[in-house]
Protein backbone atom coordinates (compact mmCIF):
# COMPACT_ATOMS: atom_id res chain seq x y z
CA UNK A 1 0.00 0.00 0.00
CA UNK A 2 2.79 2.40 0.91
CA UNK A 3 4.52 1.64 -2.35
CA UNK A 4 1.29 2.40 -4.18
CA UNK A 5 1.12 5.76 -2.40
CA UNK A 6 4.65 6.56 -3.44
CA UNK A 7 3.94 5.54 -7.01
CA UNK A 8 0.79 7.61 -7.18
CA UNK A 9 2.51 10.51 -5.40
CA UNK A 10 -0.36 11.16 -3.04
CA UNK A 11 -1.33 11.17 0.62
CA UNK A 12 -2.50 7.89 2.25
CA UNK A 13 -5.99 9.27 2.87
CA UNK A 14 -6.54 10.04 -0.78
CA UNK A 15 -5.92 6.44 -1.78
CA UNK A 16 -8.51 5.14 0.69
CA UNK A 17 -10.99 7.70 -0.59
CA UNK A 18 -10.35 6.72 -4.18
CA UNK A 19 -10.67 3.01 -3.38
CA UNK A 20 -13.99 3.70 -1.63
CA UNK A 21 -15.27 5.39 -4.75
CA UNK A 22 -14.13 2.44 -6.87
CA UNK A 23 -15.80 0.04 -4.43
CA UNK A 24 -19.07 1.93 -4.66
CA UNK A 25 -18.93 1.83 -8.42
CA UNK A 26 -18.28 -1.91 -8.42
CA UNK A 27 -21.07 -2.60 -5.90
CA UNK A 28 -23.67 -0.83 -7.98
CA UNK A 29 -22.31 -2.00 -11.32
CA UNK A 30 -22.25 -5.64 -10.26
CA UNK A 31 -25.71 -5.40 -8.73
CA UNK A 32 -27.12 -3.98 -11.97
CA UNK A 33 -25.96 -6.82 -14.27
CA UNK A 34 -28.49 -9.47 -13.25
CA UNK A 35 -31.56 -7.21 -13.05
CA UNK A 36 -30.59 -5.65 -16.39
CA UNK A 37 -30.74 -9.03 -18.09
CA UNK A 38 -33.82 -10.01 -16.08
CA UNK A 39 -35.85 -6.93 -16.98
CA UNK A 40 -34.90 -7.46 -20.60
CA UNK A 41 -36.29 -11.00 -20.49
CA UNK A 42 -39.47 -9.90 -18.68
CA UNK A 43 -40.27 -7.05 -21.07
CA UNK A 44 -39.26 -9.02 -24.16
CA UNK A 45 -41.58 -11.87 -23.31
CA UNK A 46 -44.35 -9.44 -22.41
CA UNK A 47 -44.03 -7.82 -25.85
CA UNK A 48 -44.17 -11.24 -27.50
CA UNK A 49 -47.31 -12.06 -25.54
CA UNK A 50 -48.95 -8.73 -26.40
CA UNK A 51 -48.12 -9.14 -30.08
CA UNK A 52 -49.62 -12.61 -30.16
CA UNK A 53 -52.73 -11.71 -28.23
CA UNK A 54 -53.42 -7.98 -28.34
CA UNK A 55 -56.74 -8.43 -26.51
CA UNK A 56 -54.84 -9.65 -23.42
CA UNK A 57 -52.51 -6.62 -23.46
CA UNK A 58 -53.97 -5.05 -20.30
CA UNK A 59 -53.44 -8.14 -18.18
CA UNK A 60 -49.97 -8.75 -19.61
CA UNK A 61 -48.97 -5.16 -18.89
CA UNK A 62 -49.99 -5.39 -15.23
CA UNK A 63 -48.10 -8.65 -14.79
CA UNK A 64 -45.12 -7.20 -16.62
CA UNK A 65 -44.91 -4.28 -14.18
CA UNK A 66 -45.09 -6.75 -11.30
CA UNK A 67 -42.25 -8.78 -12.79
CA UNK A 68 -40.20 -5.65 -13.38
CA UNK A 69 -40.77 -4.52 -9.79
CA UNK A 70 -39.55 -7.82 -8.36
CA UNK A 71 -36.51 -7.95 -10.64
CA UNK A 72 -35.60 -4.30 -10.22
CA UNK A 73 -35.56 -4.59 -6.42
CA UNK A 74 -32.18 -6.35 -6.57
CA UNK A 75 -30.57 -3.51 -8.49
CA UNK A 76 -32.02 -1.03 -6.01
CA UNK A 77 -30.61 -2.99 -3.07
CA UNK A 78 -27.24 -2.56 -4.76
CA UNK A 79 -27.89 1.15 -5.23
CA UNK A 80 -28.64 1.63 -1.53
CA UNK A 81 -25.73 -0.60 -0.53
CA UNK A 82 -23.36 1.52 -2.59
CA UNK A 83 -24.11 4.42 -0.23
CA UNK A 84 -23.79 2.27 2.85
CA UNK A 85 -20.50 0.60 1.85
CA UNK A 86 -17.62 2.39 3.63
CA UNK A 87 -20.14 5.17 4.29
Amino acid sequence: MELLNVLAQQEPGELAEGLTAVGRGIVYGAAAIGPGIGIGIVVGNAITAMARQPEAAGMVRTTMFLGIAFTEALALFGFVLSFIVAG
Partner: protein
Protein backbone atom coordinates in the same frame (compact mmCIF):
# COMPACT_ATOMS: atom_id res chain seq x y z
CA UNK B 1 -11.45 19.96 -16.27
CA UNK B 2 -9.91 23.20 -15.08
CA UNK B 3 -12.26 25.46 -16.99
CA UNK B 4 -15.40 23.59 -16.05
CA UNK B 5 -16.82 24.47 -12.65
CA UNK B 6 -18.23 20.99 -12.25
CA UNK B 7 -18.63 20.01 -8.62
CA UNK B 8 -21.30 17.54 -7.64
CA UNK B 9 -22.83 18.21 -4.23
CA UNK B 10 -22.48 15.34 -1.73
CA UNK B 11 -25.59 13.21 -1.21
CA UNK B 12 -26.15 14.53 2.31
CA UNK B 13 -26.28 18.06 0.93
CA UNK B 14 -29.26 17.37 -1.35
CA UNK B 15 -31.27 15.11 0.95
CA UNK B 16 -30.89 16.60 4.44
CA UNK B 17 -32.87 19.75 5.07
CA UNK B 18 -32.44 22.19 7.95
CA UNK B 19 -35.00 22.12 10.73
CA UNK B 20 -37.69 24.77 10.39
CA UNK B 21 -39.20 24.42 13.87
CA UNK B 22 -39.37 21.89 16.69
CA UNK B 23 -36.41 19.90 17.94
CA UNK B 24 -35.20 16.39 18.62
CA UNK B 25 -37.42 13.60 17.30
CA UNK B 26 -40.20 16.04 16.42
CA UNK B 27 -38.14 18.42 14.35
CA UNK B 28 -40.05 19.59 11.29
CA UNK B 29 -38.22 20.30 8.06
CA UNK B 30 -39.23 20.76 4.44
CA UNK B 31 -39.79 17.05 3.87
CA UNK B 32 -42.22 16.78 6.78
CA UNK B 33 -44.05 19.92 5.65
CA UNK B 34 -44.43 18.47 2.15
CA UNK B 35 -45.78 15.25 3.64
CA UNK B 36 -48.40 17.17 5.67
CA UNK B 37 -49.32 19.12 2.56
CA UNK B 38 -49.81 15.85 0.65
CA UNK B 39 -52.11 14.54 3.39
CA UNK B 40 -54.15 17.75 3.21
CA UNK B 41 -54.37 17.59 -0.59
CA UNK B 42 -55.50 13.94 -0.60
CA UNK B 43 -58.11 14.65 2.07
CA UNK B 44 -59.25 17.86 0.39
CA UNK B 45 -59.49 16.23 -3.05
CA UNK B 46 -61.73 13.37 -1.97
CA UNK B 47 -63.72 15.50 0.48
CA UNK B 48 -64.46 18.12 -2.17
CA UNK B 49 -65.31 15.41 -4.68
CA UNK B 50 -67.76 13.58 -2.43
CA UNK B 51 -69.36 16.55 -0.69
CA UNK B 52 -71.57 17.51 -3.61
CA UNK B 53 -71.47 14.45 -5.81
CA UNK B 54 -73.62 14.47 -8.90
CA UNK B 55 -74.61 11.77 -11.32
CA UNK B 56 -72.71 13.45 -14.12
CA UNK B 57 -69.33 14.32 -12.59
CA UNK B 58 -67.72 17.70 -13.17
CA UNK B 59 -64.43 19.25 -12.13
CA UNK B 60 -62.80 17.73 -9.09
CA UNK B 61 -65.32 14.89 -8.91
CA UNK B 62 -64.20 13.85 -12.39
CA UNK B 63 -60.60 13.63 -11.23
CA UNK B 64 -61.44 11.66 -8.09
CA UNK B 65 -63.68 9.24 -10.00
CA UNK B 66 -61.03 8.58 -12.61
CA UNK B 67 -58.51 7.77 -9.86
CA UNK B 68 -60.98 5.39 -8.21
CA UNK B 69 -61.77 3.82 -11.59
CA UNK B 70 -58.09 3.34 -12.35
CA UNK B 71 -57.33 1.66 -9.03
CA UNK B 72 -60.47 -0.49 -9.24
CA UNK B 73 -59.87 -1.73 -12.80
CA UNK B 74 -56.07 -1.75 -12.79
CA UNK B 75 -55.33 -2.99 -9.29
CA UNK B 76 -58.21 -4.52 -7.35
CA UNK B 77 -60.04 -6.44 -10.09
CA UNK B 78 -56.75 -7.64 -11.62
CA UNK B 79 -55.37 -9.12 -8.44
CA UNK B 80 -58.12 -9.77 -5.88
CA UNK B 81 -61.27 -9.91 -7.96
CA UNK B 82 -64.66 -8.61 -6.80
CA UNK B 83 -64.15 -9.81 -3.21
CA UNK B 84 -61.27 -7.37 -2.78
CA UNK B 85 -63.57 -4.35 -3.21
CA UNK B 86 -63.51 -3.67 0.54
CA UNK B 87 -59.82 -2.75 0.17
CA UNK B 88 -60.56 -0.21 -2.57
CA UNK B 89 -60.61 2.87 -0.26
CA UNK B 90 -57.27 1.91 1.29
CA UNK B 91 -55.63 1.30 -2.06
CA UNK B 92 -57.01 4.52 -3.59
CA UNK B 93 -55.66 6.51 -0.64
CA UNK B 94 -52.32 4.71 -0.87
CA UNK B 95 -51.99 5.36 -4.61
CA UNK B 96 -52.91 9.03 -4.38
CA UNK B 97 -50.77 9.71 -1.34
CA UNK B 98 -47.66 7.99 -2.72
CA UNK B 99 -48.10 9.73 -6.06
CA UNK B 100 -48.36 13.14 -4.39
CA UNK B 101 -45.37 12.56 -2.12
CA UNK B 102 -43.39 11.45 -5.20
CA UNK B 103 -44.43 14.27 -7.52
CA UNK B 104 -42.89 16.94 -5.23
CA UNK B 105 -39.65 15.86 -6.87
CA UNK B 106 -40.37 17.84 -10.04
CA UNK B 107 -42.52 20.68 -8.67
CA UNK B 108 -40.53 23.92 -8.52
CA UNK B 109 -39.65 25.32 -5.07
CA UNK B 110 -40.38 21.94 -3.43
CA UNK B 111 -38.12 19.74 -5.60
CA UNK B 112 -37.64 17.04 -3.00
CA UNK B 113 -39.47 13.72 -3.07
CA UNK B 114 -40.76 12.91 0.42
CA UNK B 115 -40.06 9.26 -0.36
CA UNK B 116 -36.44 10.16 -1.04
CA UNK B 117 -35.94 9.72 2.70
CA UNK B 118 -36.44 6.20 4.02
CA UNK B 119 -38.83 7.18 6.86
CA UNK B 120 -42.15 7.26 5.02
CA UNK B 121 -41.51 4.23 2.73
CA UNK B 122 -40.32 2.23 5.75
CA UNK B 123 -43.46 3.14 7.70
CA UNK B 124 -45.71 2.17 4.80
CA UNK B 125 -43.78 -1.08 4.32
CA UNK B 126 -44.38 -2.00 7.96
CA UNK B 127 -48.03 -0.97 7.61
CA UNK B 128 -48.50 -3.31 4.63
CA UNK B 129 -46.66 -6.09 6.46
CA UNK B 130 -48.95 -5.83 9.49
CA UNK B 131 -52.00 -5.61 7.22
CA UNK B 132 -51.44 -8.70 5.11
CA UNK B 133 -50.29 -10.83 8.03
CA UNK B 134 -53.37 -9.74 9.97
CA UNK B 135 -55.65 -10.56 7.05
CA UNK B 136 -53.95 -13.90 6.53
CA UNK B 137 -54.37 -14.87 10.17
CA UNK B 138 -57.96 -13.63 10.23
CA UNK B 139 -59.07 -15.52 7.12
CA UNK B 140 -57.05 -18.75 7.51
CA UNK B 141 -56.37 -18.97 11.24
CA UNK B 142 -52.94 -18.58 12.82
CA UNK B 143 -51.64 -22.08 12.10
CA UNK B 144 -53.43 -22.38 8.79
CA UNK B 145 -51.85 -19.15 7.56
CA UNK B 146 -48.32 -20.06 8.56
CA UNK B 147 -48.80 -23.59 7.25
CA UNK B 148 -49.80 -22.30 3.82
CA UNK B 149 -46.95 -19.77 3.84
CA UNK B 150 -44.17 -22.02 5.10
CA UNK B 151 -45.26 -25.37 3.62
CA UNK B 152 -46.65 -24.67 0.15
CA UNK B 153 -48.52 -27.73 -1.18
CA UNK B 154 -47.29 -29.71 -4.15
CA UNK B 155 -43.67 -29.81 -3.00
CA UNK B 156 -41.94 -33.17 -2.36
CA UNK B 157 -41.59 -33.76 1.38
CA UNK B 158 -37.78 -33.81 1.40
CA UNK B 159 -37.57 -30.41 -0.27
CA UNK B 160 -39.29 -28.68 2.68
CA UNK B 161 -35.84 -28.48 4.33
CA UNK B 162 -34.90 -26.11 1.53
CA UNK B 163 -38.25 -24.50 0.73
CA UNK B 164 -39.42 -23.55 4.22
CA UNK B 165 -36.50 -21.28 5.18
CA UNK B 166 -36.62 -19.62 1.76
CA UNK B 167 -40.36 -19.02 2.02
CA UNK B 168 -39.99 -17.69 5.55
CA UNK B 169 -37.29 -15.21 4.56
CA UNK B 170 -39.00 -14.10 1.37
CA UNK B 171 -42.51 -13.71 2.81
CA UNK B 172 -41.90 -12.49 6.35
CA UNK B 173 -38.62 -10.57 6.14
CA UNK B 174 -37.86 -9.46 2.60
CA UNK B 175 -41.35 -8.31 1.53
CA UNK B 176 -41.71 -5.15 3.68
CA UNK B 177 -38.01 -4.40 3.24
CA UNK B 178 -38.15 -4.62 -0.56
CA UNK B 179 -41.40 -2.61 -0.68
CA UNK B 180 -39.79 0.21 1.29
CA UNK B 181 -36.42 0.10 -0.44
CA UNK B 182 -37.95 -0.06 -3.94
CA UNK B 183 -39.90 3.15 -3.43
CA UNK B 184 -37.12 4.91 -1.52
CA UNK B 185 -34.28 4.00 -3.88
CA UNK B 186 -36.26 4.86 -7.00
CA UNK B 187 -37.10 8.32 -5.71
CA UNK B 188 -33.61 8.95 -4.31
CA UNK B 189 -32.03 7.83 -7.59
CA UNK B 190 -34.35 10.11 -9.56
CA UNK B 191 -33.58 13.03 -7.26
CA UNK B 192 -29.82 12.51 -7.61
CA UNK B 193 -30.19 12.16 -11.38
CA UNK B 194 -31.98 15.50 -11.62
CA UNK B 195 -29.42 17.15 -9.30
CA UNK B 196 -26.57 15.82 -11.44
CA UNK B 197 -28.07 17.09 -14.66
CA UNK B 198 -28.87 20.48 -13.16
CA UNK B 199 -25.23 20.71 -12.02
CA UNK B 200 -23.98 19.79 -15.48
CA UNK B 201 -26.35 22.22 -17.19
CA UNK B 202 -25.33 25.16 -14.98
CA UNK B 203 -21.65 24.28 -15.33
CA UNK B 204 -21.88 24.17 -19.11
CA UNK B 205 -23.98 27.34 -19.21
CA UNK B 206 -21.44 29.35 -17.23
CA UNK B 207 -18.69 28.14 -19.56
CA UNK B 208 -18.68 30.44 -22.58
CA UNK B 209 -17.24 28.43 -25.50
CA UNK B 210 -19.21 25.28 -24.72
CA UNK B 211 -22.49 27.11 -25.12
CA UNK B 212 -23.12 25.08 -28.27
CA UNK B 213 -23.73 21.91 -26.26
CA UNK B 214 -25.83 23.70 -23.64
CA UNK B 215 -29.15 22.95 -25.43
CA UNK B 216 -28.23 19.25 -25.40
CA UNK B 217 -27.75 19.04 -21.65
CA UNK B 218 -30.73 21.28 -21.04
CA UNK B 219 -32.89 19.17 -23.34
CA UNK B 220 -31.82 16.03 -21.48
CA UNK B 221 -32.73 17.70 -18.20
CA UNK B 222 -36.22 18.47 -19.48
CA UNK B 223 -36.60 14.93 -20.82
CA UNK B 224 -35.47 13.45 -17.51
CA UNK B 225 -37.97 15.61 -15.64
CA UNK B 226 -40.70 14.10 -17.79
CA UNK B 227 -39.24 10.66 -17.11
CA UNK B 228 -39.39 11.32 -13.36
CA UNK B 229 -43.09 12.15 -13.61
CA UNK B 230 -43.54 8.72 -15.21
CA UNK B 231 -41.49 7.11 -12.42
CA UNK B 232 -43.60 8.85 -9.77
CA UNK B 233 -46.81 7.39 -11.23
CA UNK B 234 -45.24 3.98 -11.84
CA UNK B 235 -43.85 3.64 -8.31
CA UNK B 236 -47.18 4.62 -6.76
CA UNK B 237 -48.87 2.03 -9.00
CA UNK B 238 -46.33 -0.69 -8.20
CA UNK B 239 -46.53 -0.10 -4.44
CA UNK B 240 -50.33 -0.27 -4.61
CA UNK B 241 -50.49 -3.36 -6.79
CA UNK B 242 -47.91 -5.21 -4.69
CA UNK B 243 -49.95 -4.43 -1.58
CA UNK B 244 -52.99 -5.85 -3.37
CA UNK B 245 -51.06 -8.97 -4.44
CA UNK B 246 -49.83 -9.59 -0.90
CA UNK B 247 -53.33 -9.17 0.54
CA UNK B 248 -54.78 -11.45 -2.15
CA UNK B 249 -52.13 -14.06 -1.38
CA UNK B 250 -52.93 -13.91 2.32
CA UNK B 251 -56.69 -14.20 1.83
CA UNK B 252 -56.58 -17.64 0.22
CA UNK B 253 -54.25 -20.56 0.86
CA UNK B 254 -52.14 -21.62 -2.09
CA UNK B 255 -53.37 -24.66 -3.92
Amino acid sequence: MSGLALEFPPVSHVTEWPTIFGDGLFAVNKVVLLMWLSVLIVFGLFYAASRRSRLVPTGVQNLAESIVDFVRDGVVLQTMGPEGMSFLPLLVMMFTFIFLTNIWEVIPVAQMPVNGRIALPAFMGVLVWVLYNFIGIRSQGFFGYFKSVLFPPGVPKALYILVTPIEFVSTIIVRPFSLAVRLFANMLAGHLLLVSFITITTAVFTLGPSLVIWPVSFGLLVALTGFEVLVAVLQAFIFTILTAVYIAGAMHPEH
